[in-house]
Assembly symmetry: C2
Homo-oligomer: 226 residues x 2
């Protein structure tokens, strides 16, 4: 499948590398290709600069948001929540129309320091805002409730015995995303319902962040026992 | 231990019954004893009227909030979140001072219908508001992330292999509550940190409610796999 992964950070790298490894034709999208390739420093979380990651992943192309999205069948939003709608607008409304848009972003607001708050919540969500801004796209919220390593290789923890959610209005689009999740190794994909259920998964972030602090590792996961 | 359980609904009944069964001296507190005993209808969720529950639990006394709290060593707030602070004020500041206050309430706002929103969240929490309103009490938030049956008998589901959180500023108070949780059968008690971590556990409610809808049963639980 031709896939555009929008965002060059830890989540974008993890998704792009895993999807390429599974044989997909992956292009990473960024705002400014030259600026992205000029950065040599690790990011604030210690992840490698994109150009170092790219050198190790020659099968993955880097392009503008617009170029990446143009002929992709599946679009992955792996940008920071605060710039997601701007990035998707740069990708181009027509390039997203009719396509599945897998949204992994969280509406984290770091403006007041750590822990971040959420800039949309409870009666609205980032997933809904993206669906409302791009009504011709099929938005599916997923993977936003776990560390990037576990998103793409859940078997690293407890053999994959934990849960992932999908939220979206389009049943076929959720089926497509579920197929991608299962190809990563996810075994418990829970369909919560329409895109408004993204409120609940985005509101998991505050307890996720506190668990990260309490447990001292991001390698944990929610499992819905039933 | 002498325990006051404030609240006569499903959560109060579950806690009071279990604590009495474990040999504690339990008094349930209510605003108006005569009014509580006069109700004969099940509540909106189909739970029995308090007087029917009380007939089956003769060891548990019913009293006013104030009478119940007066000589209790541990206070359990099992009232609805929207009336919790008023109920605790009725219990009497002096009757709560210096004591462990186990807060199970969630800040659910049903005024706009279902699903409810949260009337406090993200940068504040009901747990924090209660701690701020009763600074001489030792507030521990716990048990608010699961169905009442699983609060008091976690082994009903997967032999108890799931998680419960404690949040609070006082380490000794969290130890007391952890002991109560373990006496119920909880095996994975996670100390998230100070009372501000209650924000995260209260914000689990939206996804809990959507999971209830998706799974068709409230008998599920969060397990933190690590």
């Amino acid at each position: 499948m031709k896939i555009a992964v929008l965002g060059t950070g830890m989540v974008g790298q993890a998704l792009a590398g895993r999807l390429a490894g599974l044989g997909h034709d992956v292009t990473v999208g960024t705002r400014d290709v030259a600026a992205t390739m000029a950065r040599t420093e690790p990011d604030g979380m210690g992840n490698p600069a994109y150009r170092d990651w790219a050198a190790a992943h020659p099968a993955v192309t880097l392009a503008t948001f617009e170029q990446a999205a143009a002929d992709a069948e599946l679009i992955v939003n792996a940008t920071s929540g605060d710039v997601s709608i701007a990035a998707l607008e740069a990708a181009g409304r027509d390039n997203l129309a009719g396509k599945v848009l897998l949204d992994i972003a969280n509406p984290l607001d770091f403006s007041q320091g750590f822990p971040p708050s959420l800039f949309v919540k409870d009666t609205d969500s980032l997933g809904e805002r993206i669906q409302a801004a791009f009504p011709e796209s099929k938005v599916v919220k997923s993977l936003n409730t776990m560390n990037a390593h576990l998103m793409v290789d859940p078997a690293q923890l407890a053999g994959g015995a934990h849960s992932v959610f999908v939220c979206g209005d389009d049943a076929e689009a959720k089926k497509t995303v579920t197929g991608v999740l299962e190809s990563f190794g996810h075994t418990d994909v829970i369909d919560l319902g329409d895109i408004s259920t993204a409120r609940g998964t985005e509101m998991l972030l505050p307890v996720w962040l506190r668990l990260y602090g309490a447990l001292g590792t991001p390698m944990f996961q929610f499992k819905i026992v039933r």
